[in-house]
Symmetry: C2
């Protein structure tokens, strides 16, 4: 299945929760720690219990890179284990000058075989274009992020009276006209701005981190999208799913937590 | 030696050229390609002939990540081979929310043992802070980059009449007051802007890519810095050094090219 088709299949069937596989070796259950590859074993167990219910998996590369080659080996094994049927986001937040970005694209798409990537907009079009030429992939560009310091630069007002992140959304729409494989990252903690910019976003796929540990509300985000009949979105949830328990039942509890969130979305959608 | 001391030792002794070890397997000499680790062998040969004359080595992670675990193993071996006496820049252009940036910092500083890193400013202070807390390291934040699309966002005018990249330079100065281990990346192709902002940059260490293949002029950049008695800078040169020859004499030619650039800088400095 093409990467973009996997995304569409998920969201069109009402699946919007993306499980963030961001394993921190210090937080995974003790009984896994003596195995050969605790991180992979942790991920594998969670994939086994969540595969049917998740819209996608998002793997933040930082959590794997932290332990170097060992971690990247766990990353590769995890992606192979997920297989070809579920949308995989390589949350790598890359961006460099063109010829170098092409190397990053090779890494995320050809080597790690992700369906999708997250990208920094700062350096502009030619830093993003080497990813866009992978026509069947989906490229999520950072716009307004979920962290507090988003107000350092992202929300600055330009001389045109736009905010910087709004200018970025506009550019992503331009790039999408040409390549038809762009999306945006928008923090779930930024609800007012999401509401204000829903028309500017048009039909761009939206990836929303920030629900749960970072303070974003699932109900608020889903209600907003429902109100606008906007279905092209994934909400990433990591910690509250993967660390739902740190006992031997962690994978079962992860699945229960995911089902709970899916039920909440279904109820909100049926009530609209 | 502390990372920052390595930087200072280099620039204070008049060394300003940083060799960019960005090996592309398709461009390295044929006679290396049958070895176990052609990329490491290529780097090792160049390090052997340039070690005495270089100010620093910059390793762009993209070139290693492109081949996955194999490439990252070459990266790690290369950094170990350079050893502890020469300033090493991990050109990884990272940036994520705080807890995740901490994982990237762990990767670049603790695992790969770089002295320094390059960072995206887009997400603001809390995305950079986990790197800054490594007090003895040096953190180069992207400001005005050397690529054409720098005009998409970096040079946008804010409502305060500043350009975005100028606002970034201002923030980096603020962060530097607290941590004293910040620098900036400024494209060597952006000479007019470098001239205009030399006072804004204050004493921040400056890393300049873009000389050579990208069109920046060594003479222009060095003359400008000399005029302002500014010595806190590294000019990265990659392709014209590491691919000075693709025969068996590649390492010797790389060394000759580096010496030629060093002589040019010395002449410009003595003539000022």
């Amino acid at each position: 299945m093409r990467s973009i088709d996997k995304f569409n299949t998920a969201v069109n069937s009402g699946k919007h929760i993306c499980v963030g596989l961001d394993p921190d070796i210090e937080k995974i259950p003790d009984h896994l720690k003596n195995s050969d590859d605790p991180v992979f074993l942790f991920n594998k167990s969670i994939i086994d219990t969540t595969r049917e219910e998740t819209a996608a998996y998002k793997l933040n590369f930082a959590f794997y890179e932290a332990t170097g080659i060992e971690g990247l080996s766990s990353l590769k094994k995890t992606i192979e284990y997920i297989g070809n049927d579920i949308f995989i986001i390589g949350d790598a937040k890359r961006g460099d000058i063109g010829s170098t970005s092409a190397m990053y694209a090779k890494s995320v798409f050809d080597y790690f075989k992700c369906d999708s990537v997250t990208l920094h907009p700062y350096m502009g079009y030619d830093s993003v274009q080497p990813f866009l030429v992978y026509k069947e992939k989906l490229n999520f560009v950072l716009t307004l992020t979920s962290n507090k310091s988003a107000d350092n630069f992202e929300t600055l007002t330009l001389s045109t009276n736009e905010k910087l992140y709004q200018k970025v959304i506009g550019k992503v729409n331009e790039w999408n006209e040409k390549f038809n494989n762009c999306g945006i990252v928008f923090g779930a903690t930024q609800l007012t701005q999401l509401q204000e910019n829903i028309n500017l976003i048009k039909d761009l796929p939206v990836l929303l981190p920030g629900v749960g540990a970072q303070g974003g509300s699932l109900e608020d985000v889903v209600s907003l999208f429902n109100k606008h009949n906007f279905t092209n979105y994934l909400i990433n949830v990591s910690r509250s799913i993967i660390y739902a328990s740190n006992g031997i039942d962690f994978a079962e509890k992860a699945s229960q937590e995911l089902k709970k969130l899916n039920t909440e979305i279904a109820l909100l959608s049926s009530a609209k």
